[in-house]
Amino acid sequence: MTTSPSSWPRVRVDAATVAVRTGRVRKRSIKKDSKERLLRLALSMIDLTTLEGMDTPGKVRSLCSKARHPHPERPDLPSTAAVCVYPNMVPVARSALGSESPVKIAAVATSFPAGQSPLPLKLDEVRRTVELGADEIDMVIDRGAFLRGDHQAVYDEIAATKEACGPARLKVILETGELQTLDNVALASRIAIDAGGDFIKTSTGKIKPAATLDVTLVMLEAIREHYLRTGVMVGMKPAGGIRDAKLALHYLALVAETLGSDWLDPHWFRFGASSLANDLLRQILRREDGHYQSPRRFSVD
């Protein structure tokens, strides 16, 4: 476990400047060839997600087959990066994908989505989920502790979870929709990175607002700062509310501008989404066969 700074300096984020920068990214034109490449890249970066109380093994199996072959008529299209499921569904996903699958299995743990359970329970959940076959763990931070100013507790919990993960990569969900200000997002990002998170992730998808370009930029800046200071790369995962290809391309432009093209890789950047996949397919196929596809032509997951 790394040692923590005794206290984290307050971070001040100029929200107006952030809005200007993300506004500029939204207006950027992307050339046709790059767009074709980026649409496929975006597809390969999706953590195809189902996190519902009504999830069934059947639904998870169909999600896995969608992840492996997003559009079976077009086997040349890339698989998504991962599927993201509840711990109970990890064995189902593992048996559907097999042990050699390029599609990773991410599981939410630590009493997702609220995270309001005793730490030993959460750590036990993480260990068991990894044993069940998860490649990646998506944890939630204790927003209550963060907001009451107990940053050390947040740090310790992330660090302990990282240790419990063993070989699995850890994504730390900040749930930015509950953090109130961009200053808080910036601070929470730094705590999560210092505590050993392999990825920082915006949201659970259960709270609105979920991922926004503004929040993502602030988190990317924290990653950049850490990289410039230590040379260590940290991944980023915006999740929730990213439904169309156009918005996904804006995110990729933001990443390329802030962190550079090294991060334009499924190992370092993910989209937590489900309906995004179909819109990407729709845009990819339209470019290839000239028809603007009906959403009905793609499987519903």
Partner: protein, 280 residues
């Protein structure tokens, strides 16, 4: 002396008045002599409109037919209140308003008119019921003026479809005045969108959009060559292609039947099977 208020005639999409996302406008002189800018819809506007129609379909089709009739009647009320503001002769406005009332009456009767109890030769009851076709893109004949706009609107709405009207730029002033009435008529956003633009530019965009269930062309809105091309493209995705002569005769059951799908249900008649077998 007053400064003249310059107008930008916005299009109507999703219950909102919008400019073209392309920013394209055509400066024109209005009927009262003032200068106005008319928005020229782009292919993206058409895609947005159709996507919006698709997401609004469930809400509109899910309303009771009675409620759809009430809303159409309110459209007539709103047009009546705005008749003097429409840039056309009062007699033409009245004709269009009467046409809306005609269709408001059809809304809760068309289903009973077109549905059937089918004769079948076995122990089943067999019903056919009409259901909305889905998302419709309609090109009203500009020569029909307001009557053409309300006819195209009602053809779509009576059956519970949603759709987009594409109106040529020289009819934009009237079309936009008409959307003001649509907007205040309790019609849910996205049931009808109205785009102003170039038909020659927009019809080919509709042709290659797979998520349009039907294209309706009235009278001389498009040329015969364009219509033939639209039919060829439509055949590839089994799109329903409908051409009406014009708006002078109001649509009745024959026209509405073209804008609906028929769902047929077989139900066991529950006949007792006599012991020892039967002739069934």
């Amino acid at each position: 002396m007053r400064l003249a208020v310059q107008k930008t005639l916005k299009m109507y999409l999703g219950g909102k008045f919008i400019r073209s996302e392309s920013g394209r406008v055509l400066p024109t002189t209005a009927s009262d002599g003032t200068l106005m800018n008319v928005c020229r819809a782009s292919r993206k506007d058409l895609r947005d409109a159709v996507g919006n129609n698709r997401s609004s379909l469930g809400g509109w089709a899910g309303r009771t037919a009675y409620n759809r009739g009430q809303i159409l009647y309110r459209l007539a009320e709103m047009l009546e209140g705005r008749a003097s503001a429409l840039p056309i002769e009062p007699a033409l406005a009245e004709q269009a308003i009467d046409r809306v009332v005609h269709h408001a009456g059809w809304a809760d009767k068309i289903s009973a008119t077109l549905s059937t109890l089918n004769p079948v030769a076995s122990a089943y009851v067999n019903y056919s019921m009409v259901r909305p076709m889905g998302v419709v893109v309609s090109f009203p004949d500009p020569r029909d003026g307001l009557l053409g706009l309300v006819e195209a609107t009602c053809q779509i709405l009576v059956m519970g479809n949603t759709g987009t009207l594409i109106v040529p730029l020289d009819l934009a002033e009237l079309a936009v005045a008409y959307t003001e009435a649509l907007h205040t008529s309790d019609l849910p956003g996205g049931a009808i969108n109205v785009l102003t633009g170039d038909i020659v530019e927009l019809l080919p965009v509709a042709n290659i959009h797979d998520d349009i269930d039907a294209i309706v062309v009235s009278g001389g809105a498009v040329s015969d060559e364009q219509w033939a091309e639209a039919q060829r493209e439509g055949a590839q995705v089994l799109r329903r292609m409908i051409r009406f002569a014009g708006a002078s005769v109001p649509s009745g059951p024959d026209a509405f039947a073209k804008l609906c799908e028929v769902k047929t249900v077989w139900m066991s008649a529950g006949a007792e099977i006599p012991a020892g077998g039967s002739a069934y």
